[in-house]
Symmetry: C2
Subunit: 556 residues, 2 copies
C-alpha cells in the first residue's frame, strides 16, 4: 500500500493506494495523465485506468516546490497560436489584499510572469477557435482524457454487456475525437475553462455529453491562513476527484493567496469576483461601482482565473418577487447585488455592463458561470417566479456572451424537493440553449443539517442524470460551519458518487467498467482490489480492518 507523504510545505503527495500515474502522449508532446489500478494476478484481469484530476502531485517522480508552482504546460500551445501579447499588467494595490501589511500580508508568489492577453481586438476563447473550425491542443487533450476509458472498454468487450441507459437527450458518442470536442464547444454545449494566463492547467471539459464533473469550494478562513494550508486545500480536493475548484476567499490576502493557488493548480479555478470587489469597498454593497468591479475582473483575468461567477441575472424587478419567500435571498452574491440595486434603485450594473464584461473575458478566455443569485434557500421556495425569472435572464445573457464567443455555463439551485428537480433542467435547457448547467446539490429536504452532503447528493445524482454537466459539492458542515479536511473528503467523494451514478444512468459507454471490476473483486473476495478500485481506498480498508484487521482476511 502506498502511504501518503508530505512534500516539504505539507502538501499531500504520492499516489492513492494501489494506483500509479500513467501518461498518454498528448498534443505537442504534453502528456495526458491517468490513474491506473493494478488488480491481483489471481484475477487474470488487466489494470483499470481511471480519469485523473489530481495533477502531478500523485506522480512520485514529480518533485513539487510550492514556491515554483507546476510546469507551464500550456505555454507552447498559447505561444504557437501567436494571437496574444504579454504586457505590463495592472499593479497590485494594497486593497487587493485587504490592506494587509507587515506580518499580516501573505507573501507574494516568488515567480513573476507578465500576463498575456489577446492582441488588440482579438478573441482567444476556445469557443472562438472552435467556431472558426480550429482544433486546439486543449481540445485534443480533453478528447484523449475523455476517450481513454472507452478504448479500455473495448479491450474488455467480452465482459461488457449491451450499452444501456436513459440519456435524457444526452448524445454520448462511442468515440470522442478532438473534432467532436470542438463541435461541442462551438455550439456552446460544452466549455473548456482555460484562461490563457493559467499555464499550469490540465484542460478539461464541462458539458452534458462528457463525463459529469464536480466542483469543490475552498477559501481562506477569517483568521489568517498559511499559504501552504490554502494550497493544500486545493491539492486535497483534487486528490479525491474535484474537477474544478472555486476559491471563495474573503477578507485579507485574497490576491496573494489566489496567486499561490493558481500557480499550483492543474484544475480550472473559479471565483466570485464580487466577493473581492466588496472587500475593496469595506464590505458596503452600496459602494460598489462598475469601475471597481471592472478593475477586479482584470486583476483576476491577469492572474489566470478560469471562470467567474457573475450575478448579472439579479435584476431590479425580480427582487420584490422574493418577499414572500420562506428564506428570501440566500446567495451571498445575490444578496450583495440586490442590496446594491435597492440602495440605488437602479438596474444591476452587472446586467447593464454585461457586454463590457464579455469584452474583457474574451481577451483572456475566462468562462462565465452565470450565478443564480435568486436560487431557493428552502424547498418551499423552489421553482418560484423569482428563480425562473432570473433563469430566463441568464438565457438572454448567454446569447449576448455567445455573440462574442465567450464560453458560458449556468448555475442552478439549491434546495429543491425531488419532484421539482427535473423541471429545473428542462427550464434551463429551454432558456439557455443547452449551455452547461452547474448546480449546487440540489438539497431534497431541509431537515438534515449535518448531513447535507447526503440531502444534496440525492438531488445531485438525479439532476446529473437529467443532464447537469457539473455538480458543486456540499460538505457535511453546510449551513453550520467551515469544512475541515475530513468534510472536504466526504463532500468530494459523495459528489463523485452522484456524478458517477449519473454517468451510469445516462448510459456512458465505459462508466460501468469500474463498477463491474469492483463487483467481480467483491464476489471473489479480492479485498485489496475492492479497496483500490473504490472512490476512497483508505476509508474502505480502514472500515474493513476495524472488524477484520488481519492480512489473511484480505485475501480469503
Amino acid at each position: 500500500m502506498n502511504s501518503i507523504t508530505k512534500a516539504p510545505a505539507n502538501i499531500t503527495v504520492g499516489p492513492l493506494p494501489g494506483s500509479r500515474k500513467v501518461y498518454v502522449e498528448g498534443p505537442m508532446g504534453v502528456p495526458v495523465p491517468f490513474r491506473e489500478v493494478a488488480l491481483e494476478p489471481s484475477s487474470g484481469e488487466p489494470p483499470i485506468r481511471l480519469y485523473d484530476t489530481s495533477g502531478p502531485y500523485t506522480d512520485p517522480s514529480f518533485v513539487h516546490a510550492i514556491d515554483k508552482g507546476l510546469p507551464a504546460l500550456r505555454e507552447p500551445w498559447i505561444m504557437a497560436r501567436g494571437d496574444t501579447e504579454s504586457y505590463v499588467g495592472r499593479q497590485v494595490k494594497p486593497e487587493d489584499n485587504g490592506n494587509a501589511s507587515g506580518d499580516y500580508l501573505a507573501p507574494t508568489f516568488p515567480v513573476t510572469r507578465q500576463p498575456r492577453r489577446a492582441k488588440a481586438g482579438g478573441n482567444v476563447t476556445q469557443m472562438h477557435y472552435a467556431r472558426k473550425g480550429i482544433i486546439t491542443p486543449e481540445m485534443e487533450f480533453v478528447a484523449i482524457r475523455e476517450n481513454l476509458l472507452r478504448q479500455q472498454a473495448r479491450e474488455h468487450v467480452d465482459r461488457l454487456r449491451a450499452r444501456d441507459g436513459v440519456p435524457h437527450d444526452a448524445v454520448i458518442p462511442d468515440d470522442i475525437t478532438a473534432d467532436w470536442v470542438r463541435q461541442e464547444v462551438a455550439c456552446g454545449r460544452a466549455i473548456i475553462p482555460a484562461n490563457i494566463n493559467h499555464l499550469e492547467l490540465e484542460p478539461m471539459a464541462i458539458g452534458r455529453n462528457f463525463l459529469v464533473k464536480i466542483n469543490a469550494n475552498i477559501g481562506n478562513s477569517a483568521v489568517t491562513s498559511g499559504i501552504a494550508e490554502e494550497v493544500e486545500k486545493l491539492v486535497w480536493s483534487i486528490r479525491w476527484g474535484g474537477d474544478t475548484v472555486m476559491d471563495l476567499s474573503t477578507g485579507r490576502n485574497i490576491h496573494n493567496i489566489r496567486e499561490w493557488i493558481l500557480r499550483n493548480s492543474p484544475v480550472p479555478i473559479g471565483t466570485v469576483p464580487v466577493y473581492q470587489a466588496l472587500e475593496k469597498v469595506g464590505g458596503i454593497a452600496e459602494d460598489l461601482t462598475w469601475d471597481i468591479f471592472r478593475d477586479t475582473l482584470i486583476e483576476q483575468c491577469e492572474q489566470g482565473v478560469d471562470y467567474f461567477t457573475i450575478h448579472a441575472g439579479v435584476r431590479l424587478p425580480y427582487i420584490p418577487m422574493t418577499v414572500d419567500r420562506v428564506t428570501g435571498i440566500v446567495s451571498r452574491g445575490g444578496s450583495i447585488m440586490a442590496k446594491w440595486c435597492l440602495a440605488h434603485h437602479k438596474e444591476n450594473f452587472l446586467y447593464t455592463h454585461f457586454a463590457d464584461i464579455c469584452e474583457i473575458m474574451k481577451a483572456y478566455d475566462v468562462s462565465f458561470s452565470l450565478g443564480d443569485g435568486l436560487r431557493p434557500g428552502a424547498g418551499a421556495d423552489a421553482n418560484d417566479r423569482a428563480q425562473f425569472a432570473e433563469l430566463e435572464t441568464l438565457g438572454e445573457l448567454t446569447k449576448v456572451a455567445w455573440d462574442q464567443d465567450v464560453q458560458v455555463m449556468i448555475e442552478g439551485p439549491g434546495h429543491v424537493p425531488m419532484h421539482k428537480v427535473q423541471a429545473n433542467m428542462i427550464k434551463q435547457r429551454e432558456h439557455c440553449g443547452d449551455a452547461p448547467f452547474y448546480t449546487l446539490g440540489p438539497l431534497v429536504t431541509d431537515i438534515a443539517p449535518g448531513y447535507d452532503h447526503i440531502t444534496s447528493g440525492i438531488g445531485a445524482a438525479m439532476i446529473g442524470w437529467f443532464g447537469t454537466a457539473m455538480l458543486c459539492y456540499v460538505t457535511p458542515k453546510e449551513h453550520l460551519g467551515l469544512p475541515d479536511r475530513e468534510d472536504v473528503r466526504v463532500g468530494v467523494v459523495t459528489y463523485k458518487i452522484a456524478a458517477h451514478a449519473a454517468d451510469l444512468a445516462k448510459g456512458h459507454p465505459a462508466a460501468r467498467l469500474r463498477d463491474d471490476a469492483l463487483s467481480r473483486a467483491r464476489f471473489e473476495f479480492r479485498w485489496m482490489d475492492q479497496f483500490n478500485l473504490s472512490l476512497d481506498p483508505e476509508k474502505a480498508q480502514e472500515f474493513h480492518d476495524a472488524t477484520l484487521p488481519k492480512e489473511a482476511h484480505k485475501t480469503a
Copy 2:
C-alpha cells in the same frame, strides 16, 4: 439541552435535545406517543409535533428495567377480542441457543408468559379483521399516529402553500381515519405487523399511502454479546427513527437474545427464520428440513416476532439463471435455499410448503416479508431474468397468503443503477397486487464501499418516491464489516432523509411543516431551533460549535 443518560443496564434514555414526549389519548385508553419540539419564543410559532418511533425510552417519567421489559399495552386489546387462547408453548431446546451452555449461555428473560394463538381454526390477522369490517385498536392507533401531523398542518394553514407533489399513483388522503386504515389493510396495500405475542408493540403501518418507513438491522456478533448491548442496539436504532428493526443474529443464543429484544421493543421485530434453522443443522444447508424450519417458525411466533423474511421465491428453475451474473446470488437466505435446492435437486421447500406456513402465521398474525433471494448484488445484474422471475413468484405467493388473510410485504433490491430503479417498482406493482414494497437501498453504483449508505440513500429516496413503503437501511460499513453505534446512527439518519424526501415528493399533506419551520429558523438565525428540528440535533450542534462554539453565536 437535554443530555443523554443511561438507564442502569446502559440503555440510552431521555429525550432528544429540545424535545419532549407528548401523548394523545388512543384506543381503550392506550396513549399514542409523539415528540414535540418547542421553538424559541421569539419565533412566535407553536411547537412542532413529530412522529415518534422511540418508545417509552425518551419519556423521562418512564422508569425502564431491562429485565421487566416494556408495558404490555396491547394485552387488553387482544383479550377483548376473545379469539385467542393461551397454551403451554413449545419447550426451549438447547439447539435454539446453538447449544450454548454455562457461562456461554445468555440468561433467560426472567418474566415468562404463556404464548397465545388463535383458537382452533381461527384467524387473528389484522387483514382478517379488516376484511370482516372490524376496526381494531391497532388500526385506530395507527390512524392517530399518521393523522396528527395533518391536524397540525391545518393549524399552520396560513403558512402552508398549495399541496404539491408527484404521487406516482399514491393516494394520500387529507385525513386518515381508522376506517381508511382498515380499508388499506383489507386490500393488502398496507400491513400492520403485530404478532399477538408482541404485547409491547406500538402499532405502525407500512404501505404506499402512509408515511414512508425505514428498517434498521441489528444482530449479535460472532463473539458473545451482552444482553444489554443487544437491547441497546434496538433502543439506539429507534431513537434516531427506525420504524422496524430486524434481528439478523446468527450463532449462539439466538433464542434468548431475541426474547430480551422483543420484550423491550415498541417497534415491530422482523427476522429471517432460516438463519436460526441453519444454526440448528450445524450450518449445513443441505440438512435443512421442513420440520426443523416449521419448528423454528413456531418458536419465533410464540416469542412475538412480527414479520418473517421467507425466501420462498428462490425456485429451483431460477437458480441456473444466475450463472452468468457478475455476482451470482448474494442474499444469504437466497444462497442457503439455492444450495438446498441444488443438493437435493428439489423444489424449494418454502415454496412447496407455502400454504402450511400461512396456516401457522395466521394463528399469530405474523406478516410475510417475501424475501428476494435472487436480488442483484451488482448493478450489472440488476433487473435480470433471475430477479424478475423470482418477483413474479412472489406475486403468486402473495395471492396464496391473501387467500388466508395473511399480511404480506415484498422485498426488493439491492444494486440498481438509477435508470433501472423505477422499473422495479412498476414490476412489483404489476405482479404483487400493490402489496407493500420493502427495498434495500437500492445502491446506484458499486464503486464506493465505505459510503454505501449514500450510494443506497440515493436509490432509496427515488424508489420511496415511486412508491416503496419501507426502506431497509444500509450503513457505511456495508460490504466491509460490522456497523458500530455511529454507523447505525448515520445509517438511520440517512434513511430518514430518503424517506422524508420521498414523502415530500409524493406530496404528503403535512411533511413540509418540519422543513418550513427549520428553514424559517435558519433564515432568522434561530440556531437552537434549527438544531432541535433537525434529524440529528446533536450532530448539527456539534458541527456548528466546532467553528462557532460560543453561546452568543447560537442566538444572533
